[in-house]
Symmetry: D2
Subunit: 367 residues, 4 copies
């Protein structure tokens, strides 16, 4: 059953393994008339790449896409857009010494069970390398949203439980000030105190040869009401679907989320009010949706990421030929201490993909 496609109208199909010749994607259903150049992808891909800070892996990926189709004279034509990234800096030899060993937290075991194939070179198809495709697709999706004035910001809220306590307060300047602050943070946390706490947590984990988890929060604002398709394509359902498809993600919550489960209705209910002659809600515990359709209030949700599975410490495990053993990644292996940092770019991209898709879907809701 085919499963490498995401989206209903704005559809992405990705392909490629971490240690194959290339990785790439096809975007189908993109409207014509959108300006696209290869430079447009740079900043989002750098963000996913982790920049050059000590808080992310030293592994560099050749993250420049080649546009193979769908763009003519600098504009989309309505034809499918194919983007290909050559896999430059792949070092399969790092995996040679452990090629017969199941790596804890990784998917070699389940892929072998499912497909009868054991691709020991990095994660193969299950590698987070695939997320480069999502980030590239997010760049195109963003152009569709921008044309409607929709703005999106993801950021690292917490790592190992430390970081920001409050969500950003949105003024009339929108998300712009927070984007700037995020740009100044090597861990993509837009609040100075949160930034400092997270950096400290990451450093300590690195020193101890360990890794940490984190929470990425996203705000979408402005956002028109009416996006989301009842009853099975609710905006939060599409978002949860997208977010739990990101490697290492373990949870999704919208608005008050799991907190709502501990609340009373009288406190959780968002009262409708009039503000500048527009219907809004006084609070936003719902997180921007009612009945699965956007209300026009800021869309706010969080995604939990587990700590990186690849760590320097020794781990108990089993070999392919069913012997218990202890494994250690070879010297020189390069891993992220906190995947949630680089996941910020991926969450933001998937949000854009989901919303662009719902926006195009909504065009057929009325006669």
């Amino acid at each position: 059953m085919a499963s490498n496609t995401f989206g209903e109208v704005f559809k992405i199909t990705s392909f490629g393994e971490s240690h194959g010749p290339a990785i790439g994607l096809v975007i189908d259903g993109c409207p014509s008339g959108i300006d696209v150049s290869e430079q447009d992808f740079q900043s989002a891909l750098e963000m996913r790449g982790g920049g050059s800070s000590p808080f992310v892996t030293a592994r560099k990926e050749a993250d420049t896409p080649r546009i193979l189709s769908g763009v003519f004279g600098g504009k989309t034509t309505g034809a499918p857009i194919a983007l290909v990234f050559d896999n430059g800096d792949t070092k399969s030899e790092h995996y040679e010494p452990i090629k017969d060993t199941l790596r804890p937290g990784h998917a070699n075991f389940t892929y072998m069970e499912k497909y009868g194939v054991f691709d020991w070179r990095g994660g193969g198809r299950s590698s987070a390398r695939e997320t480069v495709c999502r980030v590239a697709a997010g760049v195109i999706a963003d152009k569709i949203l921008k044309a409607q004035g929709i703005d999106i910001l993801s950021y690292l809220k917490k790592a190992e439980g430390k970081g920001m306590e409050e969500s950003p307060c949105i003024t009339e300047e929108g998300l712009e000030p927070w984007k700037k602050r995020r740009a100044e943070s090597a861990v993509f946390c837009p609040e100075p105190l949160g930034d400092a706490l997270i950096k400290q947590a990451v450093k300590q984990a690195v020193e101890e040869g360990d890794s940490i988890g984190g929470v990425v929060e996203t705000i979408v604002y402005p956002l028109p009401p009416g996006l989301g398709e009842p009853v099975y394509q609710k905006v939060e359902a599409r978002l949860a679907f997208a977010m739990l498809s990101i490697p290492a993600s373990k949870g999704f919550e919208i608005g008050a989320g799991f907190m709502a489960a501990s609340m009373r209705g009288s406190r959780h209910n968002d009262s409708f009010i009039l503000k500048n002659d527009r219907i809004e809600t006084e609070t936003n515990n719902a997180g921007g949706t009612l009945g699965g359709i956007t209300t026009g209030m800021p869309l706010v949700f969080r995604v939990a990421f587990k700590p990186t599975s690849s760590i320097k410490k020794e781990m108990k495990t089993v070999t392919l030929d069913a012997r218990e053993t202890v494994m250690k990644y070879p010297e020189g292996s390069r891993h992220d201490p906190c995947v949630a940092i680089r996941a910020v770019a991926v969450v933001e991209a998937m949000t854009k993909i989901v919303l662009a898709d719902l926006l195009l879907m909504s065009r057929s809701s009325r006669i």
Copy 2:
């Protein structure tokens, strides 16, 4: 854009409004040769109905499906199965006094924004009445899973933050003992202390004319490895998609979930071990999946539900003609104090639907 269909191979399409003549669904892609009778639906539908306890609404729904197609001589034929429930006990007149008022926490506002239509009779298409269809589909899905020995249990873990502290411990008897305990709990909590704490919380909320949220947990075991389709139809992605499509759900987490975001890798990683010559993991922080494919360990996930939006207390809101007002549900209105109780049956049904679908999908993964 059509959105009332869920599933890729085992597909359900639901229809109907809470106050229309009937509600129903079509199940397409169900294999032939499965025993089905109208009686099979009773226990799951009663569970969704809430039984006859004081912990749920007094509103009774005529939850007996008529099978219109797809079954011949007591067996499925491979043709689509249509099930219809007549809407018996609908009291639109309860909504008359507030027909021009936006009800906080409800979807009338967003449906009106999206479709330009204001159906004031209960929730219309957004009503949780629709979940009766999901529960019915779950009954059929369960038969597909049973044939493979797969067993599923959902239960109310907490309400307003109180309830079970630990997840059920699974012995060699599997989920059976916990099913029995759940059957004895009017709030579907299989642990006596949890049951008592939850009942107390519900009672207090009822007395105060208020409502409370809750968390539903699900365990699937036994479960074969190899279900889940990389990369966008990961088992947790499909589950999150399904769960966030349930009315009032606000969050989803699998395994350690949001806790994982506060953990170190050395603690979170599940070591592979040998047990009875089978590869298992020592712990199960992953919650039964790696790389989006089931490992064969118990699948464990939680869904957060907000407190019921309809409460007896007065609430601030706005009328259709944009005047701020205060609303109160008419005397005699019947609402659940805690939607999470009846949501247990819906979560369990959606889990079955997702897994039956993935099971049928997995048949084409190898030549």
Copy 3:
């Protein structure tokens, strides 16, 4: 694999067997704001029913739909529209004497091979009874097209090779005059001579206890350019898909069709010309599309129908327990002498469904 759904945006899902309690469909993705009442279906359903002429079966079907959902206050709401037809006049007992016999030209054999089930009561799911759903969906689709000024006409062009020689000539009155003429023909042939020839052929077949095939032609005009989605959802590909899904259909051709295969390019090519400052083509061998997208010229295509498989004559066949035998339909069995007559309504309906779907799809082709 689910297959009882047709369409991408405007989606129909049908269910029901010829001898079950009811047959019906769900239309999902229909825009809100369209006027619908149960009376709207009458004329199309009567046309499919064959009217009360001697040229069609005497079997009467209770073709009055009940609208179960999706319409509120006489207008579509954007929710799925469920329509149910109770199966009134089913006489399973006619099939009793031949219940162990494979009926030539029918699908009992292949259904048994595929599903392991032998539903001997009429055609079961494979019965042309299912087409009542298509005709009903066509009525809704037509409303979407009408709002854009698109008009459609199907008619019986030939039966047993006799009938109309030329396609209707379209004047500035559009298809209206031909609709009137069709309404006057009991065999739905809008040309007097064709009508007479066809009637004669049908009568003779009836007298001889035999059946005949036929060709249904369709014209769509006016029709805006730009419908059809390259490269796999070309307008002619969608139409061919839809038409070959109709029971008893054996072929599809557009424009010059199979004739084009015998032509030279210099004769087949349609020259572009200017007409009233609009770009048109001088001839229309293409049949209204280029590259799978409508040109704005009339869309013209034909569908071939085989002769009815159920005839009064004796036929050689085989029993379920693999004995060669000779079968004869019981006295009183009621069959159409020429299924192509009643197929006119079905072809017209499927055309409307395809075009409404492509029209809604086209809304996302440009930014």
Copy 4:
């Protein structure tokens, strides 16, 4: 609305324009464990390329695919297979002189109407260059079918109305002898007389600067019963959908096809008989399906292709700025005199894609 994907389980997504840097496709849903190498594609691609006979265009395409993903150690892994063909021999300058002119029979006009873009370099996305992707996908699909013993043969039956009168007679050697004969024909007609008549027709058309149409026939045998999904994914419906998506195709018919429309039921009905204890039909007017499901008899269908639109003769047309004019392709332009010749490989490939897809679908029809 995305439309560059074909298939439900075995899904192909193609991308690329005739004059862009590359063209390619992603095959998703291919089972793991299938042997694949780059050499496997050669013979099918050469056949599509037309060999080096004088009966096809002199334009050479660099038809060697690069496998970017989905294959490890010579076998498919279950991950998506990406194949890319660099566009070597593109001569956009041939199109410069006519860049402002609508070319009769081509899709520039409709793409411009739909997308607002005029890509004057060859056909852009609408070019038959795209069919190289279909042929490559057919090679993989064939491996899935081969594993079940299914064999497929397409051939040019007629051009300009001349060629084979009878369909090949299948002996116990199956299609093998006819494959050999096809290999000896530069026009892919497996019967010597037909081959000679077609060659003569092509030569004469070339001499007169003209082009001709043709009919491609396909036989599938052996073929198991049970493929095809009622009611909307009938095997003939899927085939018709696939065939009418091929550039220049104008018609599809199965079994007796349009001839059936002129027949009596008593003659058209295929009697069931016993042959070697297997149920077969005495004749095969149905063409191998009943109720949209394969019977096990040979699947036989035909596709009509129009004459090549690009001819050497002068043609009337219109310019982009709406002036009537006369166009002539520049000296040195290279076009096929009969697209149906090279279409043989494309029809065969699409047949394989459809059947592999239906075969994988059929795995979930029974419990």
